[in-house]
Symmetry: C2
Subunit: 349 residues, 2 copies
DNA sequence: CCGCTTTACTAAAGCGGTTTAGAGGCGATC
DNA sequence: GATCGCCTCTAAACCGCTTTAGTAAAGCGG
């Protein structure tokens, strides 16, 4: 607990203690076949006794590789980890990293900027989340020859991009509600991040999907509210919607978290879900199955997305060329939070 | 997409291009007051034009600090991120890291061992999750003078430890069920990690709390089942319990995830929760409030735990001495998943 | 016993920064 | 006009490791 600054054991210390050169010590760990049996054992024993561990930064500098994959995160960690989406993605990334002996560095904006955070990050490659392909941070990486794979971005000629079929999923979700007879829809839009002032690529694609379905059905224009990706934000969005002139009978949320917030705020306001209000989310987080009622939502393969992105990045780090894959499929999972619109129900009975 | 190995721009390149020494370039970034106005501006402009960014590993080597906080994770990332517990903790850690301009490195066991993963991790300090204080990995860190703070561990003379009152929380949970008239309890135990073959410190403390309450009430010994921290594992545990001779009327789960698994498996088996089976969890994850029925569980301040641990580590990294704080308080949150035992109910009517 | 390859090991040159010690120029001081 | 100190700027050492080039000794066929 004292924090005594124990001076680190260096390779030179081991070399002296074992009566060999630094080179020999290095060989003992990295090229044991270059050493005689006796010397090898002696060096390793001395190293262990002294508690020697090579200095990672020195190693990284001289080997030109750090054994670390970076994840570029466009927002504060406390907000982004409040959304289980990132947990899911990390599972995919983590699996591949472990398989290839990489550690995983989270790089959020520091001191107000992603670029200054990047400068201090010693990584062999970056996964970039939700950044637009022409973001300044990406330029910086390119200039320094750090391979990068984009996730949830727009198509890019420069970088491989891993996406899911946001548009298709959104369209399916909206069509589902329209087929249930809902005409007055509301949309809860994903918030912009610090680097995108307007809207994220993902939000734009989902919006396009919703609108295509609505226009296709000739339904009136939906009401749109922007809400953060949290249950609380979803609840606030619900109240905002209630104050509007046209009370929607169904809401399309661009995230499950917001959808759950809408459901619980609706229930708290005395509405029944889905009888009085249908709700469909987006993501199909594991928890979507345990909510009450279970959430109808658009499934996207998040773990798989992370796994694929990591795999592509590792390929690039190893010098292989890589093409952007097809967007991964999304699909609507109908559970208990949607039902026929009231008018339709009454007309039928 | 080509992966062209763009050779990195080094400080020497900038120095030559600007017609100054390497020192001057370094000064321009780190000690601008050492340079004349004109030179400073010229160097910075040239650096920007060339897209220069100092090599993080070189910087770390020579400055003896990497600007990174490590998190030692005792299991595979894919299993540990399946539990929202880590997300919560990361929110606390992340908040402090961002405040102090640190990036966050996740270090899971690589190549089968935490120690080999530690070797390649260039960090200024480590948060260690759930490791016993005499773990070999911690010795290695000590030998190399890397400050470490333990979370969810046993008290240690060597390191600051951040804990919550697991025992008190567990006791309160068990007492709650006993007061509701349940006598036949079951306990779902946290699984061991790779480094603890028997049981984790956390699991041991919670178990002690449960047993103290049960013994205090003179109730029969509970049935114990070990289950991983996931909904699926919880469901399996439920079925295991059902096959046992004594059907418990209430279960104490050491994690919310397992508790949710028990609830949904029970419902799927035709049991009503809480009428036929009471369930209480541990952690009070945000989702505990959205489940059906809402989960009665022991609240622990996870974000605060992460925040505190990070703060202590940062203090240690800055050479300050640090004492282990008192365990953080836990408290039972009664929601909808517990009710009076059947016998009691019938006897009353 | 000589030249030739192997084997076992080492000196020294990087990797790309920071930092210490000091050099040179210039105005102020006496 | 010599001396001092300050302001800029630089050369070189250093951080701790890997790796290249090379040396000395041992092995070996002839």
């Amino acid at each position: 607990m004292t924090g005594t600054p124990v001076s680190r054991v260096t390779i030179a210390d081991v070399a002296i203690a074992a009566g060999v050169s630094k080179t020999a010590v290095s060989f003992a760990f990295n090229n044991p076949e270059n050493l005689g049996q006796a010397t090898l054992e002696r060096v390793l024993r001395v190293a262990r006794d002294l508690g020697y561990a090579p200095h990672p930064a020195a190693r990284a500098l001289s080997m030109r590789r750090s054994g670390t994959m970076g994840v570029l995160i466009p927002q504060r960690l406390s907000t982004v980890f409040a959304n289980p989406f990132l947990s899911e993605l990390m599972q995919g990334l983590g699996e591949q990293c472990e398989e290839h002996d990489l550690t995983l560095l989270l790089v959020p904006p520091l001191d107000g900027s992603l670029e200054s955070a990047i400068r201090q990050a010693s990584v062999d490659g970056f996964i970039s989340l939700g950044l637009s392909p022409d973001d300044k941070a990406l330029r910086l990486l390119d200039r320094n020859g750090i391979p990068t794979v984009l996730v949830d971005s727009d198509p890019s000629p420069e970088h491989p991009v891993v996406n899911v079929d946001d548009r298709g999923g959104a369209e399916e979700a909206a069509r589902h509600l329209l087929e249930l007879g809902h005409t007055q829809l509301a949309i809860i839009v994903l918030p912009p991040t610090r680097s995108q002032l307007e809207t994220t690529p993902t939000a734009a694609r989902r919006m396009a999907g919703y609108e295509a379905a609505i226009a296709g059905a000739g339904a009136p224009a939906p009401e749109c509210v922007t809400a953060g990706i949290s249950v609380e934000a979803g609840a606030r969005a619900f109240h905002q919607l209630r104050e509007g002139v046209r009370r929607p009978t169904a809401v399309l949320a661009m995230s499950d978290m917001a959808a759950i917030g809408v459901m619980s705020a609706a229930r708290a306001s005395g509405l029944r879900v889905p009888a009085d209000l249908s709700v469909v989310g987006f993501d199909d987080l594991p928890m979507a199955a345990w909510t009450y009622p279970p959430l109808t939502t658009v499934h996207q393969p998040i773990v798989e997305k992370g796994r694929l992105a990591a795999r592509l990045l590792i390929d690039r780090m190893n010098g292989r060329k890589v093409e952007s894959p097809q967007p991964l499929a999304t699909s609507l999972v109908v559970r208990g939070s949607t039902s026929k619109a009231k008018e339709v129900v009454s007309r039928q009975t």
